[in-house]
């Protein structure tokens, strides 16, 4: 489908690796630039009574700060910049994908992007865990069970731990992909019904209403998935920070 296609804008190849600047890269840059702009405008006035932009920036800050302190405890707040950047990137990428013109591209509808984000989180969790607890980090894989169950359950815990980046990335990618495919399919119905002529043309209003509903739902999903991505990052960080205490 056309909306998921990657086009090369500036071809670039270094050492046999294709590093071309594509429409995906372009939209990532737009996302990052917009977030920077949003926060710069939001933070520029520093008024006691905030303007709308400042309110939005403050709400997003408080939202993430509350999320981290409730899911990962007060010492999780050290990771605020990381979680905030992750949340804003995913949120803006999801929302920009909903722009119906400008050849908008949803970066998060490609699994390579979401998997990379998830692997960054995963690596971070391991590094934090090992850095903070050293070898005791491995206790994360040892549940409180009788000794004869340990070998089996340890393998299960390891698989469960390794499945995290996959479930994290697949959830975001599948949600965005499914939403956009749904919109395309409904759009196709409108066109083919309208072209059918006669009474069928009148019916084409039904999928059109469907598109409106799905678009509204997509806004919810865009926000929800960014939220889920961020809160799971917090939960995983909590595991690394506090091991079995929770």
């Amino acid at each position: 489908m056309e909306q998921f296609e990657i086009h090369t804008i500036v071809p670039l190849e270094i050492g046999g690796i294709d590093l071309s600047f594509t429409n995906s890269s372009l939209w990532m840059c737009i996302v990052v630039a917009s977030i920077s702009l949003f926060l710069t405008i939001g933070a520029s006035s520093r008024a006691l009574v905030p303007s709308r932009m400042q309110s939005l920036a403050e709400i997003s800050y408080n939202f993430i700060a509350d999320m981290i302190s409730s899911a990962a405890g007060k010492d999780g707040l050290k990771f605020f910049p990381f979680v905030y950047a992750l949340f804003m990137f995913v949120l803006f990428a999801n929302l920009f994908g909903l722009i119906p013109f400008l050849h908008a591209f949803t970066v998060t509808s490609h699994i390579i992007v979401t998997l990379t984000l998830a692997l960054v989180v995963f690596t971070m969790v391991i590094v934090v865990g090992v850095f903070k607890h050293g070898i005791r980090f491995l206790k994360l894989f040892v549940p409180d069970v009788p000794w004869y169950m340990l070998p089996l359950l340890t393998i299960i815990e390891v698989i469960s731990f390794l499945s995290r980046p996959l479930s994290l990335s697949v959830r975001l990618f599948a949600n965005m992909l499914a939403g956009h495919i749904m919109l395309t399919v409904f759009g196709g119905f409108v066109v083919s019904l309208a072209a059918a002529g006669g009474a069928l043309s009148v019916l084409s209003i039904a999928p059109l209403l469907g598109i409106i509903g799905v678009s509204a739902l997509e806004f919810l999903v865009a926000f929800l998935q960014a939220y889920v991505f961020a809160i799971l990052t917090c939960i995983y960080l909590n595991d690394a920070l506090h091991l079995h205490e929770h």
Binding site: I159, S160, S163, S167, Y227, V228
Partner: protein
Amino acid sequence: MSNHDPDPEGLRRLETELRKARGRKKAHAEDRPPSKLGIAFRLSTEFVAAPFVGGAIGWGLDYLFGTAPVLLLVMFCLGIAAGFRNLLRAAKEMNTSDNA
């Protein structure tokens, strides 16, 4: 009202008002259950990912030791177990965050 000469009395009043409003908002947010759609997607992906990872590990080990398809099957089954483990853990997290 100017932002540059703060009036201490007014600020203090504003602070108590703000604290009250924040308390209200927090109580309100905790009453609201998380979205059902979110829960459904969360649980399904938590469950499905583990057997895939288990199967992939088994496949890799089979390739390494030339024991295909024994380890693939064993690790896939363990993956299903890990999936249930994920599922229960996620459900437990949701319960505690509801009551908190």
